[in-house]
């Protein structure tokens, strides 16, 4: 699910965030890290994605966080659910195809038990996808979220990203309802085939 061929464009001129950055402008992944910290989200299990590489590296480097890979995304959902019930807040990082494995755990754990599951989903399958399977599985994501009436936002712009992340985390926790924050290639640069 995680590793695949191709290059992330975040190290290339495709990186939207690095184009017209002023010295004080933060990248999308800096915003995620800082907003998690500000909201005391300390536990971050993940199944990696190329787009999330820098974010994962920086979360590992920061002793504020307990972060580690899991074998499956639903395993990570179980871990943050248990941790939240025991007083430790968490968030899960994954990519689109990983989200596609979660319908059962959302419907049988996170939603009925009213657990504020916070998910960051790096969006594959659109805006330059080179793997048809990713394009297909991406189309299942929003219908699943909508069929469960789950809160979700697709972040496309850096200027509104911190607002979306910060407010969504706060809403998830106060209403005890899951949220999916979908990181569009428009925000992250995505992953493109460069051969």
């Amino acid at each position: 699910m995680a590793a695949a061929e191709g290059q992330t464009s975040s190290q290339t001129s495709h990186d939207k965030a690095s184009h017209d950055r002023t010295p004080h402008e933060r990248s999308w992944h800096e915003i995620v890290l800082q907003t998690l910290k500000r909201n005391d989200i300390r536990l971050v299990p993940y199944v990696p994605d190329r787009v999330l590489t820098t974010l994962i590296k920086n979360i590992h480097a920061d002793p504020f966080f307990t972060t580690f890979p899991t074998a499956r995304e639903e395993e990570a959902v179980g871990i943050v659910s248990g941790a939240w019930m025991a007083g430790l807040k968490g968030a899960v990082l994954m990519q689109t195809s990983g989200f596609a494995t979660l319908a059962n755990v959302l419907a049988s754990l996170a939603i009925p038990y009213q657990i504020p599951l916070i998910m960051f989903v790096s969006e594959r399958g659109t805006l330059g996808e080179f793997n048809y399977g990713q394009a297909l599985v991406c189309r299942t994501m929003r219908p699943v979220l909508d069929s469960l009436a789950m809160e979700h936002h697709t972040a496309t712009r850096l200027d509104e990203f911190e607002f979306i992340v910060d407010r969504s985390i706060k809403q998830a926790i106060t209403t005890q309802a899951p949220v999916a924050l979908i990181l569009s290639p428009l925000l992250t640069g995505g992953k493109v085939f460069e051969k």
């Binding site: 395993e75 959902v77 248990g82 939240w84 019930m85 007083g87 059962n104 009925p112 038990y113 009213q114």
Partner: protein
């Protein structure tokens, strides 16, 4: 059904889930958390008395150990037990590696192995005739994994787990009897009561 394999590791007494769960609960003196996996595993936990530190899964098959891991990470001073069926853990074998890597010393995992999906009609699991769950656990990095030979051995392994320096996994062979009780299927109350029991919430 429930044919013992020829592997020496499974040359153990066939015990009973409710009896073993009762023996475990009787040993809990320090508000230890107990996470009961889907189906009979949590039905029998429920039937031992509804401790506020018990959590009952009503779905999410295979996630008892990950949920318990989350509790263990959040509250390192509280010991956490997780009860899981063999069919359930087969769905989430990767979590054994995650737990082996994180090495939480306050987590004890118990696999109730009857070789069948009892609740759906006692069909054999794909592992029943071939795989050894303790060998899988050891291969996943959980060195402190063992089959309990009998009830007395189970109690001894639980005592050891409470003071172990790393996570423990105990395998028990059980009969194919159904669960003794029936958990009240009210997820919000289950979750809220668990949080009260863990000292995270105060009663309204």
């Amino acid at each position: 059904m429930n044919q013992p394999t020829n592997t020496p590791a499974r040359n153990t007494k066939i015990m009973n889930r409710f009896d073993l769960t009762s023996r475990l609960v009787a040993k809990l003196k320090n508000e230890e958390a107990v996470v009961g996996g889907i189906g009979n595993t949590n039905f029998d936990l429920w039937a031992t008395g509804q401790r506020p530190q018990n959590f009952y899964m009503l779905g999410s098959m295979g996630l008892a150990f990950p949920i318990a891991l989350g509790v263990a990470l959040a509250q390192p001073k509280r010991h956490v037990f997780a009860l899981e069926g063999d069919g359930s853990i087969l769905m989430q074998l990767g979590c054994l590696s995650t737990i082996a890597t994180l090495k939480p010393k306050n987590l004890t995992m118990i696999v109730m192995d009857n070789g069948v999906y009892q609740i759906t009609g006692a069909q054999p699991t794909p592992a029943a005739a071939s795989a050894d769950i303790i060998a899988i656990a050891i291969g996943s990095g959980l060195a402190n994994s063992a089959w309990a030979a009998d009830e007395e051995d189970f109690e001894r392994l639980v005592d050891q787990a409470l003071t172990a320096s790393g996570p423990t996994l105990i395998g028990v062979r059980i009969d194919d009897r159904p669960g003794t009780g029936a958990t009240r299927r009210d997820p919000v109350q289950i979750r809220e009561r668990f949080m009260l029991g863990l000292g995270v919430r105060e009663a309204m």
